[in-house]
Amino acid sequence: MEKVLELKNIWVKFNNNIVLENVNLEVNKADFLGIVGPNGGGKTTLLKVILGFIKPAKGEVRFLGEKREKNLKYFGYVPQYNNFDRQFPISVWEVLVTGRLGQLGMFKQFTHRDKNIVLDALMKVGMLEAKDKSIGKLSGGQIQRVLIARALVMEPKILILDEPTANIDADMENKIYELLLELNSEIPIILVSHDKKVISSYVNRVVHLDRKISDYKEKIAMPSIL
């Protein structure tokens, strides 16, 4: 099994409060990993450590056997959609263009190939018709799909999602998970959620995070209950 992401002995402290304590985690190529745990248990913090937004007090993150810094542009990150300024004057297309910037480089032109990648991503998430709409006119579920598309145009080698289905209706939720399952045939996915039930019916591995990481036992027990 090919190891993609590796976290070794990660410690994070905020003002002497320990938020993450000696977290070790490996993500393999075929993984669809769910991270569950209580609010304030450090789920989002862990994602931010993985993405390099937060520097751990101790520990190391390695990606494809290398230091992560060189490969940040391959981290397809899908943040919580409700953190966005809905009034921001930007269209769906323009949001996706920002996702291509890492691959474009600073002065390069937006080529035909880039255009096709953006179109392809929009098609995958079913938002092609809305490409010229401004994000202020979209529903929560639609913004979520645009953010997934933005991660896809990065041609990511891993997909990282923070609560992708919070405040989204059940129908859309299923669609998003179906899409993720499809994407998982090519790249590993890490998904953070407080919703244990939904998560465990789609992902192939779950860990529980409450300052420390532990295996999620309930998952094994669940089929017998159902």
Partner: protein, 277 residues
Amino acid sequence: MEVLQYEFMRNALTAGILASIACGIVGTFVVVKRIVFISGGISHSAYGGIGLGYYFGFNPMLGAVLFSLMTAMTIGLVSKKPGQREDTLIGVMWAIGMAIGVVFIQITPGYTADLFSYLFGSILAVPTTDITLMFILDILIMVVVFIFFREFTAICFDEEFAALISYPKKLYLLLLCLVALTVVTLIRVVGIILVIAMITIPAGISAQFTESIKKMMFMSVLLGTIFTTLGLVLSYKFDIASGAAIILVSGVCYIFSLGIKYVNTCRKNNNFHLGKG
């Protein structure tokens, strides 16, 4: 139109247009990124540079360039450090810059005649050297924004995500430096105290009527030009400070635009309820 025969009048019109270009382009980023308070801090701190210019006998505008750039860099570099409060830092820089200006102007011997013009603008008395400086700054701002437009859009929309794909810290600093240069182009037109209004009002009005950054920029430049020209006329006719005249015109239009927006929204909602939307 015969007033245009006078050089000071032509200079005033040119200054208004040059200032509008800078504040339309950069003001758009300031408004959508919600860093209006930062632009206020940068502009007020420029007063320190003006005081320095007076005391040591160089062009106060160059002092303003120096101080506003320094403040922009300090706010950009220090505020993102963990444990720092950005707005506190801005307030401190804002006040220190003003205080330095006050001290240096006080210890400068002789009467500092056009001090008032730096504080409240004096569009009718812009010297040709300052027009040249404004022109150079405008070109610089336009070139930088043209090159980094997509990057600036990305960091304004989602700074965290931008960290994965580009160099957001350096680009953010660059953006703040553009704000600093914009402040300098505006000092002669509306004065330090009112710069913040000129950066935000045209972009603030445009933001209500367009959903694209580029359109917002064009509209803001246009509005800025209208406001400065109208303000100039009022300033000339009634002999009042140009800064105050321009801001009053802009402010009234802003309030008016809120009204239009409100009526539009109500109408849309009504149509929606009646099944027409």
